[in-house]
């Protein structure tokens, strides 16, 4: 099967799963899509308000709470990400043809994966040093690089999310 054929097949499978799981029916109610959009952006705000501010603090762009204590807010960022994941999955399950072949959505997924890999690198390398960093101590360069990549990824994710509408494929 060609690459394009494989993508079409996957899109059709996602659509069938959306129908079978009831996601399509929920999203096609009067309030399904609007509520999912609200949940999606509240999740983004939680993510930027915790992980984004943690990144800015780690970059040294803002002063604020020490990194070890600020790190305790990260679970709220994870909660925000889960809200985005759940609502985003509903969008894709309800209308896969608008997303799977949409370049903005594909780049968005790549950037989410990059943010995920970056997070794994952070926790496997400098996280323990950051967690035990004394108040106002200089942040290791590696942690600053991780923070820049993280924030840039999330802003890129938001940018792609905003332009998905502009790149929706035409339905044949």
């Amino acid at each position: 099967m060609s690459g394009a054929g494989w993508v079409r097949r996957m899109t059709a499978d996602i659509g069938e799963f959306g129908l079978a799981s009831g996601a399509n029916a929920v999203m096609n109610t009067a309030w399904g899509w609007p509520i999912a959009e609200c949940v999606h952006f509240v999740g983004i705000c939680l993510l930027i308000g915790t992980v984004g501010l943690f990144d800015l603090r780690m970059m040294g762009a803002v002063h604020g709470p020490s990194l070890p204590t600020l790190h305790r807010m990260v679970p709220w960022g994870v909660a925000g990400w889960l809200l985005c994941l759940a609502s985003g999955a509903m969008f894709v399950l309800a209308a896969p043809f608008e997303y799977v072949e949409n370049p903005a959505w594909v780049i968005k997924m790549v950037l989410i994966a990059l943010a995920g890999v970056n997070m794994v690198i952070f926790y496997r390398t400098v996280a323990s040093r950051v967690r035990h960093l004394p108040e106002d101590a200089p942040v290791p360069l590696a942690a600053r690089v991780v923070a820049v990549v993280s924030l840039a990824s999330w802003l890129g994710v938001m940018t792609c999310g905003r332009v998905i509408t502009a790149f929706r494929p035409l339905i044949e």
Binding site: P34, F41, C45, G49, L53, P65, T69, R162, V163
Partner: protein, 162 residues
């Protein structure tokens, strides 16, 4: 009022916002970034007052207020640009007014936290009981404001007058 909207729609900035593909989306992107920093920063301060990351001194969260100001500096002009493009769409919709009441109320509460609560903590005094109420209401208003913004598309009665 509709005549005024029709006049605005014929101005060059309004036509530019509607007809230039890049301009509209660039403004939308800046609005999303600005809102995320403004609302996200406000949520972080509200969560801290509610007791999240309690080991972190509250007064140090003052460092996040400049981030919120940058967020507002992106969100407000971009909102005005969108308004210039589609004045009737927003200004004939009560959800748009509700969005501003919610976000304005939340911003006011977060500012009151800065001027009322932070000095108390700096003076090693306990937070009053209403501090949690302020933070809880601010958090609800941030969420409500964001939701109103997202619902604009679904509740507007008209796109343009002309």
């Amino acid at each position: 009022m509709l005549a005024a909207f029709a006049w605005i729609e014929q101005t060059r900035p309004s036509l530019f916002m509607r007809e230039d593909f890049s301009a509209y989306f660039i403004v939308l992107i800046f609005h999303a970034w600005g809102m995320a920093f403004l609302v996200g920063g406000g949520m972080a301060v509200s969560l801290r007052v509610l007791g999240v990351a309690a080991a972190s001194p509250l007064e140090r969260f003052a460092g996040f207020y400049p981030v919120m100001r940058v967020g507002a500096a992106l969100a407000i002009p971009s909102r005005i640009a969108l308004l210039v493009g589609y004045p009737a769409k927003a200004l004939t919709n009560w959800v748009f007014a509700l969005k501003f009441v919610c976000l304005g109320g939340a911003a006011w509460l977060v500012w009151r936290m800065r001027v009322e609560l932070f000095p108390l903590v700096e003076a090693a005094r306990a937070l009053p009981a209403r501090a949690r109420w302020m933070a809880g209401i601010a958090l609800l208003l941030w969420v409500a404001g964001v939701c109103c913004g997202k619902l604009l598309l679904y509740t507007s009665h008209m796109l343009t007058v002309s």
